[in-house]
């Protein structure tokens, strides 16, 4: 029975409203005790957390792991290593792989791969993500799917989207909507505005996102189903969700660190690492996203970790696939731009990375409650570092944060009671899904 004692850290558990200097005892994979001074026998590892933040392991509900199909960009194993390196212990893996995750066997494949973090499959809404026929949602749910999404594109047929919401309501999990009207976004690559005009890049209007958000909110109202709007990027989308929530609709939404940190002026460099979908938006949109995070309209921060190989990204801006990696910079970007930026205090920011995203998918994670699975993220908040490509554990390095200074270093990550990433020793290569009671012994560096 493995017992880990984390001593003397600033324990912040937003789910419980805890923010105090405390000890945390982990026993047999679960949180055993959180108290002022814990005297425990038979502790196998003691982690000195003096001066550090002890938070629940982060829950990232929007991640692309590229397996199956694009293992040169990322695998479930490498992506999960990146996750725990960034303090993320639970990831929801999007189904736009090749082939897409649209059958029970593919859901089981994703869930069963060796991984350092907890990897939960999101299954496709429609077969092949073609927007024509619903997947067998009930069977997919039984196989382990935690949500449904055709992420990467919208379900264009409104009637089909309505049926998807209706059916998902029966199955009991949310539909995660990628809101984009391709007729409006066209083959655009940059937010419509002065920057796209100056750069000569094909524009994507805010309306391309907002008309679909509006449609899906109306359909959520029609069906009473749980709708989760992915990667909200515009002021108009935030306002639409705000109004829908005020009307009592069962709607949640997420944004990503780049949408509250970077503006569309970044495209003037033609650096393909800032090509994302939806595109980086205007300063006004960034401010609206920050306000949405502040007032609770936006429920979660997700990385939309989208790895692409160097070869795929090192091309002309409009030829590069959209997306940036984000699992490892999720927390430092949040600390640097939301907490240091005066938008949110630390507990509120951590809530958006832990129990609130967990709640969207109905997961029991993102908390340090006694009895819960022991997922812990220990952070040194005092250090700032200039991000270098070699620092990433992800197979891909497509990050606009390379060369920029960010605050906060994840020093230890514990997943299911196992130390899976630790400073100095780096990640331990641990596989919690295969440990206690499931086989593998770990080398602990703490």
């Amino acid at each position: 029975m493995k017992r880990i004692l984390i001593r003397g850290g600033r324990v912040i558990d937003p789910a419980a409203g805890t923010d105090d200097t405390l000890d945390v005892l982990i026993d047999d994979g679960r949180i055993a005790e959180v108290a002022g001074s814990i005297e425990a026998d038979d502790v196998s590892t003691t982690v000195d957390a003096d001066g550090r933040i002890v938070a629940p392991g982060l829950v990232d509900i929007h991640v692309h792991l590229r397996e199956p199909g694009n293992e040169d960009a990322e695998t479930i194993e490498s992506g999960s290593r990146a996750a725990v390196h960034g303090g993320v212990t639970t990831v929801a893996a999007m189904p736009n792989t090749e082939p897409p995750i649209d059958t029970a066997s593919w859901v089981e494949f994703v869930a069963s791969r060796k991984a350092a973090a907890r990897v939960l499959p999101v299954a496709a809404i429609t077969v092949g993500r073609r927007g024509e026929n619903l997947t067998e949602m009930a069977e997919l749910r039984t196989a382990g799917a935690v949500a449904f999404s055709d992420d990467g594109c919208s379900v264009l047929n409104a009637a089909l989207m309505r049926r998807a919401l209706d059916y998902a309501r029966m199955v009991g999990v949310p539909v995660v909507s990628h809101c984009e009207d391709p007729a409006l976004s066209g083959n655009g690559t940059a937010n419509e505005g002065l920057s796209s005009t100056r750069a000569g890049l094909k524009p994507v209007p805010a309306a391309a996102e907002e008309v679909m958000v509006a449609r899906d909110l109306i359909l959520a109202g029609t069906t009473g189903a749980r709708l989760h709007v992915a990667h909200v990027s515009t002021a108009g989308s935030v306002e639409l969700v705000r109004r829908a929530k005020a009307d009592g609709l069962p709607v949640t939404c997420e944004t990503c660190p780049h949408y509250f940190s970077l503006t569309d002026e970044e495209v003037l460099t033609y650096d393909s690492s800032v090509r994302v979908n939806p595109p980086l938006r205007s300063r006004t949109d960034v401010e609206a996203i920050r306000e949405g995070l502040r007032d609770g309209t936006i429920d979660a921060i997700a990385s939309d970790h989208a790895p692409h190989t160097h070869e795929d990204k090192e091309v002309e801006f409009d030829a590069a696939p959209p997306g940036m990696i984000g699992l490892e910079t999720l927390l430092p970007v949040t600390l640097t731009n939301l907490v240091d930026g005066g938008v949110l205090d630390l507990p509120a920011a951590l809530a958006l990375l832990t129990h609130r995203p967990a709640g969207i998918l109905g997961l029991p994670h993102g908390t340090l409650a006694v009895g819960s699975e022991a997922d812990v993220c220990i952070v040194d908040p005092t250090t700032s570092r200039t991000i270098e490509a070699s620092w990433f554990r992800s197979k891909s390095k497509n990050s606009p944060w390379i060369g920029r200074k960010l605050r906060g270093t994840v020093t230890t990550t514990i997943c299911r009671g196992e130390i899976v990433s630790a400073e100095n020793g780096g990640d331990t290569g641990a596989d919690p899904s295969a440990s206690p009671g499931r086989g593998r012994k770990l080398a602990v560096h703490a």
Binding site: L194, T197, R198, G200, P203, P205, E311, V315
Partner: protein, 322 residues
Amino acid sequence: MQWTKRHLLGLEGLSREEIATVLDTAAIFKEILGRPVKKVPTLRGVTIANLFFEASTRTRMSFELAEKRLSADTINFSASTSSVKKGETLRDTARNIEAMMVDMVVMRHSSAGAPHFLAKHLDASIVNAGDGTHEHPTQALLDLFTMREHVGELQNRKVVIVGDILHSRVARSDVWGLKALGAEVTLVGPTTFMPAEIEGMGASVSQDLDRAAEDADIVNILRIQRERQEGGFLPSLREYTRLFGVTSERVAGMRDDVVIMHPGPINRGVELAPDVADGERSVILEQVTNGVAVRMAVLFLISRVRASERTEDAELLAEVSI
């Protein structure tokens, strides 16, 4: 001498002095082009690659002629016969060309920012010959040169640019250049052809050509691509011509000394009536002539910067060896 740049990627950010340096230098080359022997040895030993990833006849011929007049060695690369179609990346293509010890690259590409991409990866100097809908700096410089020949200094001059501003790299470069030289620029065209927030570049916008052009010194007319109608930007070319086509009746409402320009090729009878294109206010063919002189000036000025870098390197090496 105000020119210190080793690339010409666009006119955005260029100073009045830098643009004036190019135009003054072009005037010297234009004089040379009028001589019986039109060739100078200025770029002897310099190798220039013309990389045209997108079809272009006029710009390419103009650059090639400019290079030949300066006695540069040139190699040509066009997408239709290139390895791009075999899947080679832009960077690989460029690195191969650089491995052939090319000094300068003249590049036309359908992607905005493609020349910036190359400039980041190559030691060779890059001259943007048009990148997507971003910029076409040498076209704008020849426009400015032609304007200056006809109306003198451009400070406070009124310039109207009419047509498909949205898809026009020429319009963007013209606006940057004209604003740097102190001109007032009005962009005229249907609302569907106006890029978002273009006023942020310093130009005003109008949908009333007659009013905008009534006191203009210069009217620069852009080509309307016929496929834009199918793209839903225009109800019909007929309606476009009625609202924005430059006809002799319209020109009659403009100043007597208005200068009519067009970067070519012209859709006669669509954006420009044939009698205006060939009329006495038109300077369209002069623009073509000036294009060679301006491109000679750009290549010359950049080669001077490269030569001075080499001199500095040599001096540094000499110091080190002492």
